[in-house]
């Protein structure tokens, strides 16, 4: 009993920095923000309890629905495309070809470019008159769109940039692909399975836990998108407010309109949405995700 208590004490002692950090910098702010979400709190004056009024106001706020829709649309479009592209690239990189390391590096490099630099580079690429993309389109005799001047163009641009930076997902998928036992492919080939069938019956089930993980990470990331549209649209909400996302509106409420209570309520709704979507992904994937025994 004494030895058990000793090891518990030592364990607590050694994990104390994390516990203290967790309590001070995560649990306490979380609790505070939950409390503040039920308050009128303009930051510069003490919070005043107003019950669920912030949540009721959210339900009446048309801008809230717009940012919700913008963010959901971006997630709905970008996550499947990015997942498909990342899996495809990982499969290509999994081939034994010359210069494999070079290609892997090329695909990963965009992930180490700072977000602001990414935004600036793409701002130039998307320039309707002088940008590389429209110049390329013009070389084929067509006229490129005003990428950042229409809601559809903004969405397409943001998805393109997301696809450009799928490198980290590719690395994880690649690791997953290399974990799939070769015997499974051999067995499939002996049974006469074609390449597409091998992909569908061996590869996809083999990397399904990784797809699940990456999709959950992507859901969290897309629901928190902030910096990229901020840089790309030069701190504006974009055409018809199409680049005004959930976190941008949350930030505006907190630090520009000084409605910290309202912003906290938005943050909790955001957390609940992400939790619900994560649970939905887990639930819907319970049959599709295969974990190898042992």
């Amino acid at each position: 009993m004494s030895a058990h208590r000793d090891s518990l004490s030592a364990g607590l002692l050694w994990t104390a920095p994390w516990w203290i950090g967790f309590l001070l910098f995560l649990a306490l702010p979380l609790g505070m923000s939950l409390y503040i979400s039920f308050c009128d709190y303009p930051i510069l004056q003490p919070p005043v309890w107003i019950g669920a009024e912030n949540y009721a106001a959210l339900a009446r706020d048309p801008v809230f629905y717009q940012v919700l829709w913008n963010t959901a649309l971006f997630a709905i479009v970008s996550i499947p495309i990015c997942t498909a592209v990342a899996v495809g690239l990982a499969m290509l990189l999994n081939q034994q070809v010359r210069g494999q390391a070079f290609f892997r590096a090329c695909i990963f490099v965009p992930n180490i470019v700072p977000l602001v630099a990414t935004g600036i580079v793409w701002l130039w690429m998307l320039n309707p008159q002088h940008g590389l993309i429209n110049q390329t389109i013009a070389a084929f005799g067509a006229r490129g769109p005003n990428w950042l001047d229409t809601p559809l163009g903004v969405l397409a641009s943001l998805v393109m940039i997301s696809v450009w930076s799928v490198g980290s997902g590719v690395v994880v998928y690649l690791a997953g692909l290399q974990e799939i036992p070769e015997e499974l492919y051999e067995a499939a080939r002996l049974d006469g399975a074609s390449r597409p069938r091998q992909f569908y019956h061996v590869t996809l089930p083999g990397i399904s836990p990784i797809i699940l993980f990456n999709v959950i990470v992507a859901i969290i990331g897309t629901w928190q998108i902030f910096a990229l549209p901020f840089v790309l649209l030069k701190m504006t909400a974009g055409p018809e407010r199409s680049a005004y996302f959930y976190t941008s509106y949350l930030y505006d409420n907190a630090f520009r309109y000084l409605k910290m209570g309202y912003a906290s309520a938005m943050a909790w709704v955001q957390l609940l949405i992400i939790l619900a979507l994560t649970a939905l992904v887990f639930w819907s994937g319970r049959r599709a995700v295969h974990y190898r025994a042992g």
Partner: protein
Amino acid sequence: MMIRSSTILLAATLVLPAIGLLTFGPRGRATVPTDRVIVRYWEKWAGIEAVPVRRIVDDFNDTVGARHGIWVEYNSISDVDKRTLLATAGGDPPDIAGLFDHIVAQLADQNALLPLDSLAAEFDIRSDAFKPVWWQTGVFNDRLYALPSSPFTIALYYNRRLFREAGLDPDSPPRTIAELTDAIRRLTRYDEHGAITQAGFTVSPSMLGWWPWAWPFFFDARPWDGRRFLVESPQIIDALNWVRDWRSTVGLNPMLAFEGSFQTIEGAQNPFLGERLAMVFQGPWMTNWIQTYAPHLDYGVAPFPSSDAARHHTFASADVFVIPRGARRPREAMRFLQYMMQQDVLESLCKAHCKVSPFRRPQDDFFRDHPNPHIRTFDALAESPDAFSVPKSACWAQAKDITQVMLESVNRGIATPQQAAAIAQRKLDAAVDDYRVARARREGGR
């Protein structure tokens, strides 16, 4: 409880270096004389913009500061308004903060700024030394909360060469909106595919500088009456109708493509500097950009066209100094501001920032040595009775966003001027009402 010696050894290995670092580690530069009281000054300016203000701070520390035992510590702070806000909320604000005038009403209404009326009187900082428009930038609800640092007005910059080519008289720039409209029509050029190669003017948010909301003000609109934003007024509808008509004349898509090709207005990509845009409204610092990126540009400066030739509407705005509530050294801070408010000192800063002087009668050398040869035009505009500033509403941040959406929706043909104004009016009324209710609730709770 027994703690094993290996545990103690490991703990010591981690803790001792930390203690050593805290005790003997690097320290900030100890250049402050020990007999001085430190005044913390947070300012937005960094790099080349910070040089003149640092020089003023150094001069103060060497002279007045030395006599009064004060040491001003200058800190360039990015996002200074947000950081000052959070530091004030946290109870540890700087003693002086260099903010923007548009945030004064919001902070003052939240009781976050120290009223300066009595301190200004005590330190002999007098309103009659300044042009009224600049003194008023710091006044909210009849109390003084801020002092002007470097102010500016907005005027029309126009390309004289393009004017000549279009058959316009470069010595007679447009004075009214009607003349502006005609000049735009004559200055706009297309290529064989219908793309705009040269535009007369644009009301795109990026080319209206940092003030796209200000467009209706040139049509006599003054939407904030102290209690309500009124955007369904005939003047605002006129301004929106102008935007709609102009878009349909020039063509929405060619104009969007043209505007989309701009990157930043502060650099060489500014289409006015590249002579692709004939007219633009900007502040006096535009001359710095011209000298840097287009030194041979043949340009002129004039008051921006207004609803009628006798009127001179201009946006008048200023960077300001405030003392946040809770500042530890307000009197010492005021001593520094007193030094700063000396005409030669403040004008040296304004000159270095290529802005106008806030003083009623600028010194002769201010005009003589100013980097902008048209500075008298900007200075005269500050005396115009039609000069307008940011509406003094605590809800301005939100109101500005709503107003911009209104302009944008007309600009893009999404809504008619009447529809856009009606939607904006509802949102503005709701925003102001919500704010008022929350304020009353807080006051009731005290």
